[in-house]
Amino acid sequence: MTDKPIIQVQGLEKSFPTPNEKSSTQVFGDIWFDVHEGEFVCLIGHSGCGKTTMLNILAGLDKPTNGVVLVDRKDVRGPSLDRAVIFQGHALMPWMTAMANIDFAVSSRWPEKSREERRAHCQEFIDLVHLTGAETKKPSQLSGGMRQRVGIARALAIEPRIMLMDEPFSALDALTRGSLQDELVSIVHARKQTSFMITHDIDEAILLADRIVLMTNGPEARVCEIVENTLPKPRSRTNLHMHPNYYPMRNHLIEFLVNRSKNFKEEIASASYDPKKPPVARPMAADTTAALAAPQTIAM
């Protein structure tokens, strides 16, 4: 992870007009955070805080009411091949085979490539997500997990600068989700892929993220705090919970989701809260002295 931010979210706000169209409801506002090169950032929040809207704005599919998203210091004006999206549903074209779905993306990225070159390129990513043998299958012939693998391969195959993921595993059963998370960890780690993921799964966030952005409940959701993952990399599901920092991390996040996400307004009233620099927390085991070392840390 370097200090060079790829994504800069600055004062982002999204409001929707109320049914009588006289006023508007702010879903979230005054959102500031960065995603750095090679970093994996997760955004956690309850449903209704505008997580998907936020991701769509980052992807360029939706426009903010206020504020900007900068990618490489340039204003996001629309979707780009630099930002691949893995959608909540797999969003595969059901009339195309797994290979054709990936090729649709690859040929959009490199229209000049020959059929053979594209084929070899697609095959590389099919193999990467362990779908070798399923190339000619249609999405309806694949299991839920395999479909999302095709979705991941499609996103990775265009070699994007940033991968944006909208709860990619939420529709899968726990076992499938686990194995896909493991694979995503190793792929992202090996490729140093800058990623931004939306989730409501705490364990998923702890496993995958370098930093976790906590969003309070909507309407008028804010970034409550940014949690740095204190668990060392590489992380794996099998031994994650053995680390002394695991439970402090987990409890911190649960405490947030259960209590603080809804009482945040009182919390900022009593503390010095600067939306441009949301407090940073580094939950650690009690015997680790650096627990509250960061200057902007809020005491738990």
Binding site: L61, G78, L81, A91, M93, W95, F104, I158
Partner: protein, 281 residues
């Protein structure tokens, strides 16, 4: 007794039984209508038709079967304007239906595509479509005859006007309801509008469009018979009317049979085409 018969075998057996019962009751009904022959000059009796000879006016299944077989074995004879083989008449009708149908498709599909892409166009054109859709195609006939002044072209126009609506409405609906996700995928991949139209929207809407086409061809085949009865000259509709004028109920019944068979084949062809573009979500 075997209990492992496939379901289609049972269905086929039942179909044959139903057909048998139908033909038998038809035959018995015709038999019951037969009375003694009236004594008269045989030439006059010939002119007055079968009833004068003591036979029922309704032909028996065997008569109709014989007639149908006659048409099947000799479908393409041409013995003057009022006596052409049923194959020729059907070919005329099919040609008209297909011409009108494909002209309609040529306009309805691209137009429906454009309307489906735009919310404003959808709302703006909806009243016109809703108003014109329920009009019986035959109501257009006088207008067509007056403006086009050619019966052949007029009947093609009537087919065109009746097949355009289901295709237009279904194309619009199919295009407007393409899953947002798929369009978003295309957008994030910076796919051009043309490529999105052909690689995403068209395949996504194809099953709905094909359903519209299937409805259209069904309506077109219904309408052509009536249209040809009006304009006359050639075609299966004219054939039916001509047989009626000849008081040949046998001819009318066999024509009904052939109309049914061709309609079924047209529907089957479109159903096949629909299966080619179908997808499972």
């Amino acid at each position: 007794m075997t209990t492992t018969q496939p379901p289609w075998a049972k269905a086929l057996a039942l179909s044959i039984i139903i057909l048998g019962v139908f033909l038998l009751s038809w035959h018995l009904f015709v038999l019951s209508k037969q009375g003694p022959a009236v004594k008269m000059d045989p030439e006059l009796a010939e002119l007055l038709g079968p009833t004068a000879k003591g036979k029922s006016a309704i032909p028996s299944p065997a008569d109709v079967g014989k007639e149908i077989w006659g048409h099947i074995t000799n479908p393409f004879y041409d013995a003057g304007p009022n006596d052409k083989g049923i194959g020729i008449q059907l070919a005329y009708s099919i040609a008209r239906v297909l011409t009108g149908f494909f002209l309609a498709a040529l306009i309805a599909v691209p137009l429906g595509f454009l309307i489906g892409m735009s919310n404003v166009a959808q709302r703006a054109l909806d009243p016109f479509i809703q108003l014109l859709k329920p009009v019986s195609p035959l109501a257009w006939m006088p207008l067509a005859l007056y403006t086009i002044k050619d019966s052949e072209t007029s009947s093609i126009f009537v087919i065109f006007i009746c097949s355009i609506w289901p295709m237009l409405i279904n194309t619009t609906f199919g295009v407007a309801n393409v899953r947002r996700e798929w369009l978003n995928v295309a957008r994030t991949l910076e796919v051009s509008s043309w490529r999105t139209a052909f690689r995403v929207i068209l395949p996504a809407a194809a099953p709905t469009i094909l359903t519209g086409m299937r409805i259209s061809i069904g309506i077109a085949w219904l309408v052509i018979v009536a249209a040809e009865m009006l304009v006359g000259g050639t075609g299966i509709g004219y054939f039916v009317w001509n047989e009626w004028n000849n008081l040949s109920i046998t001819g009318v019944i066999s024509a009904i049979f052939f109309i049914g068979v061709v309609g079924m084949l047209l529907d089957l062809a479109l159903a096949r085409a629909g299966r080619l573009v179908a997808y499972v979500e």
